[in-house]
Symmetry: C2
Subunit: 319 residues, 2 copies
């Protein structure tokens, strides 16, 4: 008989990515499904999840499933309260899927899952406290404090992207202004480059077919790697703002380590170099403390599902 | 025979305040000593501490002493690393005084002690997680997360005052610019009023003898209570910035409660009213969460010593 498997599922706005994850955090195999967006009903996405989980299990018995959802998950891990790109709003997702699948299910926010993954198996491993900042389209994040994952009273801890860094600054989708993610994120990277295209020579003209609105983050990453000065300046700006916001989190939390993940972190030192400079410059009492190391995440785009599977396993083991 | 007493001591830049504290947080009696400032050597302040602790114990045996120091205390609670107004720099204060007094001694940062006091006996009591913001000359603070006091990797968690809220903003003593405490603190309150004196009619002219440089925070508090419009506007500004910074902390930590203490909080609703408005306006996802209550601290200027005594007691009980 096949040994039971732990499954992690990243439930994002455009796709479902499920993986069988071994105890050491290795992704053994994955399966994908398309999420139909938020205008359809919850039944359809749950159908997609069911198919994807069964596909990835591939006939093996399932020990437990962890769901990493791109939305606000309440602190008890029962409900998705709100998800901008999913049809769930105040839905008791955990119990419904556990009933349907007849296996233990845990539910957690995707950025928190990514933080758990980096802490258990990645760049935050061994740290007593860590801040994990995920730079994607916006900024997500997770917190490890004194050996525990911090969920917050509403399950909303780690919404770093909406800390205000500029009074009356750029408007944000959240309704606020001057949110950190408007200055340091994939969107910020692309905005920086777009605004300067046409004013200086850049490979981004060709990459985007001369249409700034077609420019994407990966195009900026590639151009920077190829030596394009405008693309490099975009990373310097995003990295500088990354360090400013990280300094604020370090002032408040004094973590042992800061891990930066998400798509933008693929640029590695081009992003982290300027971030370290501005972190040291901005951080209070830098002369009297060990400035935390600022390092790249290790688990890449699978961090969410790896963390969800780790959470499912550790939750079961505690029972 | 007299029952042993727990002593808490607030070691500030200008005075030492020691108190015998009962189990329920009541300050039974206090004693004061003058701290000689940082230009003298450590021996003298330790002499003052010894006299003050013995004076307050008043012949009773001492069960333990908690020291709340106005400075950076390392995470192990052994050393004061740096204190702007005290002669200690990288000094093993805890062990030295425990040896000298032959009683158990614990050492902690004063703002962290104030947070412990509010959590054990005051406005944060019963909260699973809380942010305690202390508005004095600057901003200090402490964090309770999931039932634990957060000290940080360097013992420097809670340095909220130096989170940057304005890029290239007002210069700060820490060497940075735009730190939160430049906009929301006793100093910020006084600066706001000073800059506007002479431009509009205000009671502060008389209170300060027509000399803006003589203006103090308590003068602004009194004038605001008496209906002075400029003084009230100063509190509205400081309260507004208080809410902005608290919103950032809530976005990151999602605490159940936020407690505001320190001298400036004596103004009560005049400060907290505007702070609540700007907290709700600035906080991400306010519609999808329980916005934490923002309340005044209860323990007043004795919070530091009460928390230090509570810490001494709980540390002994854990042994």
């Amino acid at each position: 008989m096949t040994a039971p498997v732990w499954v992690g599922v990243d439930v994002g706005g455009t796709k479902v990515l499920a993986g069988v994850v071994s105890e050491d955090g290795t992704v053994v195999r994955t399966a994908r499904g398309a999420t139909p967006g938020r205008r359809v009903d919850a039944a359809l996405i749950e159908e997609v999840l069911t198919e994807t989980v069964h596909a990835v299990a591939d006939g093996a018995p399932i020990a437990g499933v962890g769901l990493a959802a791109a939305g606000f998950v309440e602190a008890t891990g029962e409900r998705v309260m709100f998800a901008p790109h999913l049809p769930w709003q105040d839905e008791p997702v955990r119990a419904r899927l556990a009933d349907r699948w007849q296996v233990p299910v845990v539910l957690e926010n995707d950025a928190t899952c990514a933080a758990i993954a980096e802490w258990e198996h990645g760049a935050a491993r061994g740290a007593g406290s860590a801040v994990v900042v995920t730079l994607g389209t916006g900024i997500g994040g997770g917190l490890i404090v004194d050996g525990h994952v911090v969920r917050g009273a509403n399950g909303m801890a780690g919404e770093f992207g909406h800390m205000q860094v500029v009074p009356d600054g750029l408007p944000c989708e959240c309704g606020g202004r001057g949110c950190w993610e408007q200055y340091s994120s994939g969107n910020a990277l692309v905005r920086y480059a777009r605004e300067r295209m046409g004013h200086e020579p850049t490979m981004l003209e060709e990459a985007s077919g001369g249409r700034p609105e077609q420019l994407t983050g990966p195009m900026v990453t590639d151009a920077a790697a190829a030596g394009d000065l405008l693309a490099r300046a975009a990373f310097t700006s995003v990295g500088d703002w990354l360090g400013v916001g990280v300094a604020n989190l370090v002032a408040a939390l004094d973590p042992e380590r800061v891990v930066v993940g998400g798509g933008v972190s693929a640029a590695g030192e081009r992003l982290l170099g300027p971030a370290r400079v501005s972190l040291e410059r901005s951080l209070v009492g830098a002369a009297h403390r060990v400035v935390p190391s600022l390092v790249a995440a290790r688990l890449g785009p699978e961090a969410g599902l790896v963390g969800a599977a780790a959470l499912a396993r550790s939750t079961q083991l505690r029972r």
